[in-house]
Symmetry: C2
Subunit: 249 residues, 2 copies
DNA sequence: GTCAGTCCGTGGTCTGACCACTTTAGGCCG
DNA sequence: CGGCCTAAAGTGGTCAGACCACGGACTGAC
C-alpha cells in the first residue's frame, strides 16, 4: 500500500536491493541512529511493499555488514558502525594478494606516521597522559608476551587516537586484527633478550618524548626508526628459523 | 541429506549465517575463484541442507558484499574482490564522524607518503615511465577541470601503484571516491589562475624527480609540501566563499 | 513478595507455487 | 540447405501461508 521504497531511484534492481539501499541511505543520513529498533518484519514488509522473504534478504545483508543487530525473539536494532566490518572487507579484498602481512604492515606504518604528525599538533594533555601511562604499562609487562603485545598495541593505538582523525582510527582498527597475531608471536620470540626489550622500551619512550615536545618531524623519524628495528628483528627471526630448520632436519 | 555445512563450527548461528560463512571461507581459501559459477539455488539449497529462502539470504548477503554476481536467468558467479566494497564499508563507518572530508584527506596523505617511500625503492623503470607520462597528461589538461582532476588523480594513483603494496593500493582506492568530488571542484575554482596551475605542475614535477632519484626523504617531503599548498588553497577558497556569501546576501 | 507457568510478539524456517529473464534447441519458411 | 523465429527448459525473483523457537511480560499461585 504505502510502497515507501518506490520513491527512490530503483529501476532495474531487485526488491531486496531496493530495501537494502533504502535502509543504507537512512543510516547514512542519520535518520536511523544506533540503538533504534526497527519495526517487526511483517509490518516492515507490508510498509515497504515487499514480501517477508525479500525483506529478510535485505535485513540479513545489513546484518552481515554489521549495520544491524538482529536478535531472535527481540527484534532488529541499528548498530553503531564498527571497524570490524572494515576489517572483514579488507581481509576479503586482500585475500588473493601475495605476502599480505608485510603489505598490511606498510599500511600500518603509513597510518601511524601520519597520525603521529597530527597528534603532535592536536593531542590534548589528557591524550599525552594516557600515552605516558601506557608507556608505563609497557615497561611493567615486558616479561609477558601476551600482556606485552597488548600494551604495545595499546600504546600505538593511543597515538592514532590522539591524532583526532576518525578515518585514520577506523582504518587502523581495521588492519589491526591482521597484525595482532604476528605481533604477539614476535614478542614471544624476543622477550627474553634484555638488549632487545630495553631497546624496545627506549624506542617507545623516544617516540613519546618527541610527541610531547610537539615535534612532528622528530616524532615521525623516531617512529620510523622503531619500525625499521622491528623489521630487522623480524628478518633475523626468519633467518634463525631457517637455520634451526636446517640443523634439525 | 548431505548437510555439507554442518561440519563447520555452527552452533548458535542461524542457517543463513552458516551458509554465508561456508561460502566466505571457500572464497578466502581460494577454493572458489573469480568467474566460477555456483550451482542453481534449488540444488545448492538441497546440498547444503537448508531451504531456498535461507540460502538466498546468504547468497544475497554475499552479493551485497560484492563477492557474488547474481544475474537473473543466468546464475550466480564468483566475483573478484573489489575495492568498491571497501569504499562502501568505509563510507558507512565514517558516516557518523564529523568533518569527514578533512579526515579522509589525512588518510590519503598517510597512504601516499608511505607509498612514495616504497615506490622510491621498488618502482620499476616502467612504473616511472608511466608516472612521467601522466605528468605530461597533467600538463596537457590544465585548462579542463574535469580532465585535469582525473589526470591529477591518475598521477597520484600511479605512485601508490608503484609502491607495489596491494594493501596501500586497496585502501587508497577505497578512500578515493570520497575525495574525488572535492578534488574536481577545487580545480574548477583554481584552473584559471596561472600562478596556481604552474605551481601545481611544478609541485608534481618535483615529486616525480625526487622519486626518479630514488630519494625517499626528499620525495615524501615534497609530497607533503604539495599537500600543504593544496590545503592552503582550500582554506582560501573557503574564506572567499564565505566572503562572497556575505556580499551577495 | 516471589516465583512459576503461560501467553504473546518476535525472528527463523519451510513448502510450494508462480513470475520474469535468458538461453537454447527445434521447427518453419525462404 | 541456411537463417530466423518461436517455444520450452532452466535459472533467479517473488510471493503467501504456515509453523517453530526464542524472549519477555503478564498473571496466577504459593
Amino acid at each position: 500500500m504505502l510502497d515507501i521504497v518506490r520513491q527512490d531511484n530503483d529501476e532495474g534492481s531487485s526488491g531486496a536491493d531496493r530495501v537494502f539501499t533504502f535502509f543504507r541511505d537512512r543510516l547514512l543520513s542519520g535518520e536511523l541512529k544506533a540503538g533504534d529498533r526497527l519495526l517487526g518484519e511483517r509490518e516492515l514488509a507490508l510498509a515497504l511493499g515487499v514480501s517477508r522473504p525479500v525483506l529478510r534478504e535485505a535485513l540479513r545483508s545489513l546484518a552481515m555488514l554489521g549495520l544491524l543487530d538482529i536478535r531472535h525473539g527481540r527484534g532488529a536494532y541499528v548498530r553503531s558502525a564498527d571497524a570490524s566490518v572494515l576489517g572483514q572487507a579488507l581481509t576479503l579484498c586482500l585475500a588473493p594478494e601475495p605476502n599480505i602481512l608485510d603489505d598490511v604492515l606498510q599500511a600500518r606504518i603509513a597510518i601511524e606516521c601520519q597520525a603521529i604528525r597530527l597528534a603532535c599538533v592536536r593531542a590534548s594533555e589528557r591524550d599525552l597522559q594516557a600515552i605516558a601511562a601506557l608507556l608505563d604499562t609497557l615497561v611493567d609487562s615486558l616479561d609477558d608476551p601476551e600482556r606485552g603485545g597488548g600494551a604495545d598495541y595499546a600504546f600505538h593505538l593511543a597515538i592514532v587516537r590522539a591524532s583526532g582523525s576518525g578515518a585514520l582510527m577506523k582504518i587502523y582498527e581495521a588492519i589491526s586484527p591482521l597484525l595482532m597475531r604476528s605481533h604477539v608471536e614476535r614478542r614471544r620470540d624476543t622477550f627474553r633478550e634484555p638488549a632487545i626489550t630495553s631497546g624496545l622500551v627506549d624506542a617507545h619512550r623516544q617516540v613519546f618524548l618527541a610527541m610531547a615536545e610537539r615535534n612532528p618531524d622528530a616524532a615521525e623519524r623516531r617512529l620510523r626508526e622503531h619500525f625499521e628495528i622491528g623489521d630487522g628483528l623480524r628478518r633475523n627471526n626468519l633467518i634463525s628459523t631457517y637455520q634451526a630448520q636446517g640443523t634439525n632436519t
